[in-house]
């Protein structure tokens, strides 16, 4: 139908109503273009009709077609970008109804990528200048929803005129449109801002409401620029009785007050007054929010707010309850009392039927946590978790985990309790927080030395329970349990039982990565057992050569009282028995020899304990168990598993020879061949008993760059690309590496040990304090750090010298990296988050700032440059000159009146007193001159601005500006 629709089409056009009825008949679900076959046929048929009809020359037909298309677009998501031109065409119609349809279609479907949008400029301008207010209103509405930078630039003069319209509803819409125009074309601020400010004094509630809304949005982005207007807002706050307006003004003050504390003193009283007086909950809530967010220094106000929050909480209305809880959460950091007073309501809300309320309550409960009540609160919460649905259950577990680990576990005093709580969480049926629990178990194991026996105990309980293996959500926890059990096997009461748990058949339910951890732990346990079997004697000898009396006594006691009847009984460590712990500094000081000795001593103690109990049969039994279980897995397709199984089997070979080669192994130490094998077992054992510590995230970065190594040059591009990937790597650094690279540790550890034990020297005040009080739960600050294990292992044995050369590096490195970590408790994850956030904030801030700066620069320029700007551009409103031109004219009066003022304005600097003087000066002049030029419009619009009055007003504004620029004590005076 190239020639357009026929007469028949026009006559029998389906109306919008017909279309809607048809759609209903075909039962087409809104929002889904593809329904049943018939309905989609109907839809596509309708669209075809529209395509034909819209080309009609008959306005009415065209209008109806566009109406139908708009309908389909907004409810059935039909594309209508192809009809953009038709919408523009109709918007120029002389029939108001068609025009309206055209504009509506435009405002609903146009966006910045609509290419024909510029064709609308002329029509919009024409309508904005129209004598028919309804046309003006239509054009304004359309402009506000589809504005582009080009439209904003081209139509700013019209908008400026309309800001002074004598029809309230036009003025109001112009004001609302200005906000959009400012955003897209900041230069328009210079033209329109002053008129905007004038309207703050308008008596019409509607206009004030609109204008306050605009300032609220503006202040949201860059509050500082609007401080000079505080007096105007204050007046509205005090005078207005319209809740919509008051809410917006309160929002503005919530932004301004933090910038100018003295403002707070002024507004706090009126706000409290509103809060006491008002019956409207929305206004009351806004007052509360303003107080708890921005006026927290004013105790009386906070108290009043707390009272009102209490009223909200006791209401039956779930909305008020929810908001009350939110407000409580906001007030919590400043006045915990308010929360504690409402503790009951909060706890009760935990079982509210509304998820949102439950979440808020949970947040609040977590805010109440302190060292004294953490155990109690966690108990309550775990009980709730057991009863609630999976989602909320995990929310509870998640917040317990994050709260307790906050700031390096600062609220936790009793780590034994916390570790057993972690174990308990693993058994909560809906628990899906495996990863976090895993991290914390390992983390605490590494950082808090005294808690290790309990960690191992909890780990054992988890490992021996075959039921847990069936739950994929807690595999990660089991992985952590296996890891701590292997790593701290010396605290294990029954290695044989542990070995059985690690190798139980159901472990085939585990994912390969976790299974690999299990096998590695079995490896450690086996090494440990073999060592005890081979070296009881040597250990004993070492004990005689003793390092310290107390230690020696410690094991003696231990050995005498800790032997129980079990086949394999290991002593349970206590204060006396823990040579590694007690003598860490000494060990560090004496270097390699000392270290070795101490670890030997430790073994002796255990050996002496169980001599005669840990027999050859036991070891053989264990070896057989391990071998029979792992042998079939040597062919596993998973390299991690295969690799580790091979290691274990290799060790078994070694031990086998040893056991079979000698009937009484411990007596044949002097035999060379055996010694060699035993030696290997010992080296491995030594390596495994080496401490694994957390690594500072920044450790790597602090390694000084060797000369001549140009890292940045080549990698700078990569960094941009890989930025995202780096963080996960870091976060898993301290946790994953030690586990996966155990083999390296074996070889590296001796050297590292020496290099890394640098005492840390500083601490942050808070942590120091905590440490003083709960010192026993911390590692000694001289605790060792493990550098990343990817340190080349090949160097260690063969290239001692080179390694020693690098000691300096590493010493430096650890020295620095220890500083932030200080406390044993430098959880890697929070640090990561901090880095992450920091980076992101950095990026985010720079981008919007650029844009906001444009607006706020312009605002300041207008406020500082004052009315000259606005008024002079008012003069040339008739000629539609470009903005630049109007700006030029703007400065002219100032230039002539006050020397060098222009420069100062341009600088927007901060030479206060002088600038203010000039400003005021220039302003009055320009005001006067503007009056001359546009006297007519002034008189008609604002009859009250007689000459003296206007002058006074301009001075007022200048005062306000002083405040902004200088943040001088002028504001309170003025407000008084």
């Amino acid at each position: 139908m190239a020639g357009g629709p026929s007469l028949m089409d026009s006559l029998f056009q389906r109306s919008l109503e017909d279309l809607i009825k048809g759609l209903r008949l075909h039962n087409l679900a809104a929002g889904t273009a593809a329904g049943t076959p018939e309905s989609s046929t109907f839809l596509s048929k309708s669209i075809d009709e529209v395509r034909r009809e819209i080309k009609s020359t008959d306005q009415q037909t065209k209008t109806t077609a566009l109406q139908k298309l708009t309908y389909l677009h907004s409810l059935y998501a039909i594309d209508m970008s192809w009809a953009a031109f038709h919408a523009i065409e109709l918007s120029s119609s002389t029939i108001f109804n068609s025009k309206r349809t055209g504009y509506l279609a435009a405002s609903i479907s146009f966006n910045s990528s609509t290419d024909v949008i510029l064709l609308l400029t002329h029509q919009l301008r024409k309508d904005l200048n129209s004598g028919n207010p309804h046309e003006v209103s239509l054009a304004l509405q359309t402009l506000s929803s589809i504005c582009t930078p080009d439209l904003a630039r081209d139509l700013t003069p019209e908008l400026f005129t309309l800001l002074n319209s004598n029809k309230g509803f036009i003025k109001k819409k112009a004001i609302a449109t200005v906000l959009r125009v400012f955003e897209l074309y900041p230069d328009s601020v210079r033209v329109c801002f002053k008129r905007l400010v004038e309207n703050l004094e308008n008596a019409d509630v509607g206009i004030v409401s609109a204008i306050v809304g605009v300032f609220c949005e503006l202040a949201n982005k860059e509050p500082r620029s609007y401080l000079p207007l505080a007096p105007e807002f204050y007046r509205i706050l005090v005078d207005s009785r319209n809740n919509w307006v008051l809410i917006k003004v309160l929002k503005i003050f919530a932004k301004l007050v933090p910038l100018e504390p003295r403002l707070g003193k002024r507004v706090v009283e009126p706000i409290c007054e509103h809060l006491r007086r008002t019956g409207a909950k929305s206004l009351a809530f806004e007052c509360i929010r303003t107080i708890v967010c921005s006026l927290t220094q004013h105790e009386l106000a906070v108290k009043l707010a707390a009272e009102k929050i209490r009223e909200f909480l006791t209401e039956d209305d779930p909305n008020l309850k929810y908001l009350g809880l939110q407000a409580l959460a906001a007030i919590a950091p400043k006045s915990l009392n308010a929360v504690v007073e409402n503790k009951e309501v909060v706890i009760k809300s935990l079982s509210d039927e509304d998820v949102n309320i439950k979440f808020e309550a949970l947040r609040l409960v977590m805010a109440m946590v302190s060292e004294d009540n953490v155990a109690e609160i966690c108990r309550v919460l775990i009980n709730y978790a057991l009863k609630s649905d999976p989602e909320f259950c995990n929310e509870i577990l998640g917040s317990i985990l994050s709260t307790c680990s906050r700031n390096y576990y600062e609220t936790i005093v009793d780590f034994d309790w916390y570790v057993s709580l972690l174990g308990e969480m693993a058994r909560v049926p809906h628990c899906q927080k495996g990863e976090e629990i895993e991290n914390q178990l390992v983390d605490i194991g590494m950082r808090v030395r005294d808690v290790r026996p309990e960690v191992v105990h909890v780990g054992r309980d988890l490992l021996i329970d075959p039921a847990l293996l069936g739950n994929p959500f807690i595999h990660r926890i089991l992985s952590a349990a296996a890891w701590v059990s292997g790593e701290y096997v010396e605290f294990c009461k029954n290695p044989f039982e542990l070995m059985e748990a690690l190798l139980q058949p159901r472990t085939n339910l585990l994912p390969p990565s976790v299974r690999a951890v299990y096998i590695q732990s079995a490896f450690k346990v086996l090494t440990f057992a073999a060592y005890f079997y081979f070296y009881p004697e040597e250990a004993l000898a070492a004990s005689i050569s003793g390092v310290g009396e107390s230690v020696h006594n410690g094991w003696c006691e231990q050995s005498s009282d800790s032997v129980s009847g079990q086949t394999v009984t290991f002593s349970e460590p206590d204060e006396g028995f823990n040579p590694r712990m007690l003598h860490q500094p000494q060990k560090d000081a004496s270097g390699n020899d000392g270290k070795k000795m101490i670890s030997d001593l430790e073994q002796v103690s255990s050996c002496s304990v169980k001599m005669g109990h840990f027999t050859k049969d036991c070891l053989v039994g264990m070896v057989n168990l391990v071998e029979s279980t792992l042998r079939p897995m040597a062919g596993s397709h998973e390299v991690e598993i295969q690799d580790r199984v091979k290691n274990v089997l290799g060790l078994i070979e070694l031990i086998r020879q040893e056991i079979h080669g000698c009937l009484v192994p411990k007596e044949e130490e002097n035999d060379r061949g055996e010694l060699k094998a035993c030696e290997i077992v010992r080296v491995m054992h030594d390596a495994f008993s080496e401490e694994l510590g957390p690594v500072s995230l920044s450790a790597q970065g602090r390694v000084p760059l060797p000369d001549g190594l140009e890292l940045k040059e080549n990698l700078s591009d990569l960094e941009a690309i890989c930025g995202d990937f780096r963080i996960p790597v870091l976060s898993s650094f301290s946790l994953e590496k030690p586990r996966s690279l155990e083999k390296d540790v074996v070889t590296v550890s001796d050297q590292q040990n020496e290099e890394e034990c640098e005492p840390s020297s500083e601490s942050t005040s808070l942590l120091t304090e905590h440490r003083k009080r709960h010192g026993i739960y911390y590692l000694p600050s001289e605790k060792k750090e493990k550098v990343p294990n990817d340190y080349p292992p090949a160097n260690d044995l063969s290239m001692q010298d080179k390694v020693n050369d690098e000691v300096d590096y590493l010493v430096k490195l650890t020295e620095k990296s220890l500083v932030p970590k200080k406390k044993p408790i430098a959880k890697p994850r929070p640090v990561v988050v901090k880095l992450d956030d920091g980076d992101r904030i950095h990026i985010n801030e720079t981008l919007p700032e650029l844009k906001e700066d444009l607006i706020s620069d312009a605002v300041q320029e207008v406020l500082l440059g004052s009315q000259a700007v606005a008024s002079s551009s008012r003069t040339d409103k008739s000629d539609k000159s470009s903005n630049r031109r109007s700006r030029k004219e703007t400065f002219r009066p100032l230039e002539s009146n006050a020397d060098s003022t222009t420069v100062e304005i341009a600088e927007l600097g901060n030479k206060n007193s002088r600038r203010i003087k000039h400003r005021t000066h220039g302003k009055e002049r320009s005001h006067r001159s503007s009056k001359k030029a546009t006297g007519e419009s002034d008189r008609s619009d604002r009859p009250n601005s007689s000459h003296p009055h206007g002058k006074h007003k301009s001075r007022q504004r200048a005062d306000g500006m002083e405040n902004v620029a200088a943040e001088s004590p002028v504001i309170p005076d003025f407000l008084l």
Binding site: F96, H134, Q141, F169, A210, G213, S282
Partner: protein, 143 residues
């Protein structure tokens, strides 16, 4: 921008009116509407009327078979938005006389014009019922 979008959805989840104050592509709108409707319609009368979704706060209210959902940014006052919804319903009530879902379906344009009078660019600009309805009544008289 206080208000980001206004949706009217019936209890089957069909959109009856959608007005956005920021640009989203058709696909984004559809996804957003789907998620929000699923979230809000599942809630009971005893639960509160505020739902957080992505970076929006959704304030909703149910009138008979129709849900009014308003997406606002986090700064907005929830109770004021509830009042706004009520005002919107009262205004439509006054115009259509006991407004129902069908009125909005068959007079979508009018509903849009009422909204345009009340909200511009995400800011509430008019809260007086007669002011809102003035232009529409004038138009009806004319035609």
């Amino acid at each position: 921008m206080g208000i980001r979008f206004i949706l009217m959805v019936n209890k089957q989840g069909q959109t009856r009116l959608a007005q956005y104050y920021e640009y989203l592509t058709i696909e984004e709108r559809r996804a957003l509407e789907g998620e929000i409707v699923r979230k809000c319609l599942a809630r009971t009368e005893q639960q509160c009327s505020f739902v957080e979704h992505r970076n929006y706060k959704i304030v909703y209210r149910r009138y008979a078979s129709l849900f009014f959902l308003v997406g606002v940014d986090n700064e907005e006052n929830e109770l004021a938005i509830l009042e706004f919804i009520h005002l919107l319903v009262e205004t439509m009530d006054r115009h259509f006389g006991n407004v129902c879902e069908l009125d909005i379906m068959f007079h979508l344009e009018k509903a849009h014009f009422m909204l345009e009078e009340m909200v511009m660019n995400g800011c509430i600009v008019e809260t007086s019922k007669s002011n809102i309805l003035g232009p529409i009544q004038l138009l009806e008289k004319a035609s």
